[in-house]
């Protein structure tokens, strides 16, 4: 992003770059940079909190008063404890003959449709796998977890994009089941650690690594520290 700051500034516009990673924004040294110690994915800090977002913007625009390049920091941090998880009810078993992950995904469809409306589809399925096809995409990862070679399992697209649609499907459903702004990463932790499909994805990732699939094919199925 700091590359764009340099380029846009050179084109005659004043830029202010928000940055979430201190070392990155300090080493990239954009013309004006504001390091905000907020969780990744939340450059304005707090969803649903206009007052806080205005504070960030006020600090950002204040950098325009500097007569020379400047990187500074916002005066409040938003910590992530690494543990908070959404408390979303999972649907009861409906089809005992279906794999638990498939049954679960089907059971979340009503919540997904509601979340889709609430979020205007911002992170929804549909980039490569439509919502109707999410159970079939999960089946491909079940096959991998059971030992099928990853490139014969029928993943319906680039693995990282398919997993992104599955995660988006679950997190969109989760939005409909909570009545507040989710804490950072709490939805992802819920997906990976509390759902059957999350367990499948983690198992498939491990199996793809064991099968010596190219590293980007398995590594980006989940956040990198998993």
């Amino acid at each position: 992003m700091s590359t764009l700051a340099h380029v846009f500034e050179a084109a005659g516009m004043a830029t202010i770059a928000l940055g979430s990673i201190r070392k990155q924004i300090e080493s990239a040294a954009p013309p004006r940079g504001l390091w905000c110690d907020f969780p990744l994915g939340r450059p304005l800090g707090k969803p649903g909190d206009p007052e806080f977002q205005h504070r960030v913007l006020d600090a950002a625009f204040a950098l325009l008063d500097s007569p020379e390049p400047l990187v500074t920091e916002f005066d409040e941090s938003i910590p992530d404890d690494g543990e908070e998880m959404l408390a979303c009810p999972l649907p009861p078993r409906h089809d005992p003959d279906a794999h638990p992950a498939i049954d679960e995904a089907r059971g979340l469809r009503t919540a997904y449709d509601r979340g889709l409306e609430m979020s205007n589809g911002r992170i929804a399925a549909g980039r490569v796998v439509q919502a109707d096809d999410i159970p079939a995409a999960i089946e491909a990862f079940i096959r991998i977890a059971d030992g099928t070679p990853w490139d014969e399992a029928g993943i319906p697209g680039l693995p990282m994009r398919v997993s992104q649609d599955i995660r988006g499907y679950y997190e969109t459903a989760a939005l409909a089941m909570v009545d507040h702004a989710p804490p950072a990463w709490a939805g992802t932790r819920w997906f990976l650690d509390a759902t059957e499909t999350g367990k499948v994805l983690l198992a498939a990732r491990k199996e793809m690594e064991r099968q010596e699939a190219p590293q980007p094919m398995w590594f980006y199925l989940t956040p990198g520290d998993r």
């Binding site: 992003m1 700091s2 590359t3 764009l4 700051a5 340099h6 380029v7 846009f8 500034e9 084109a11 005659g12 516009m13 004043a14 830029t15 202010i16 979430s20 990673i21 990155q24 013309p31 969780p39 990744l40 994915g41 939340r42 450059p43 304005l44 707090k46 969803p47 206009p50 977002q53 913007l57 625009f61 325009l64 020379e68 390049p69 992530d80 404890d81 690494g82 979020s119 205007n120 911002r122 992170i123 549909g126 980039r127 997993s163 988006g168 997190e171 989760a174 939005l175 702004a181 989710p182 950072a184 709490a186 939805g187 992802t188 932790r189 199925l221 989940t222 956040p223 990198g224 520290d225």
Partner: protein, 148 residues
């Protein structure tokens, strides 16, 4: 899984190499037109999504609010954006600042690139300058850059 662990994976990536830091003095904020440029790979549903390695940009219509998150990396929280688009592209907040006269105007157009690129040369030499010229030609004075 903690945010700090994810940040540690990328904090030592080499920075972009610029011999000099460009610096533009903007008009007074109250007279300036402001746009948002994000590296979150946002796009409208009727635009092409961003592939990994995509160095092109999408022009975002400021009168619409249907911005799909296309960033391929799993290494950021996306529920904040799903809950409130202003977490990444704060157009409602900028509209409020314009209504109060703090900024001159909000641009009719904004722009998105795909962040997390390993080869920055194309953005540095081609698509970056092209996007910058396009926004400048729309009368934009100040750009707020947001990552994910």
């Amino acid at each position: 899984m903690a945010d700090s662990d994810i940040k540690a994976l990328t904090e030592n990536l080499p920075p972009p190499d610029f011999e000099n830091t460009a610096f533009t003095t903007p008009p007074p904020l109250a007279n300036a037109t402001v746009a948002v440029v994000t590296t979150a790979s946002l796009h409208h549903p009727d635009q092409d999504d961003f592939d990994p390695g995509d160095t092109t940009y999408r022009v975002l219509d400021g009168t619409r609010r249907d911005y799909v998150l296309g960033h391929w990396s799993p290494n950021f929280d996306d529920t904040g954006y799903a809950y409130d688009m202003n977490t990444v592209i704060p157009l409602d907040r900028l509209d409020e600042l314009a209504a109060r006269g703090v900024i001159g105007a909000v641009s009719d157009h904004h722009m998105a690139y795909a962040g997390n690129q390993f080869d920055l040369s194309t953005i540095k030499m081609d698509s970056g300058p092209a996007g910058a010229k396009w926004l400048r030609d729309q009368g934009v004075d100040i750009v707020l850059l947001t990552p994910v």
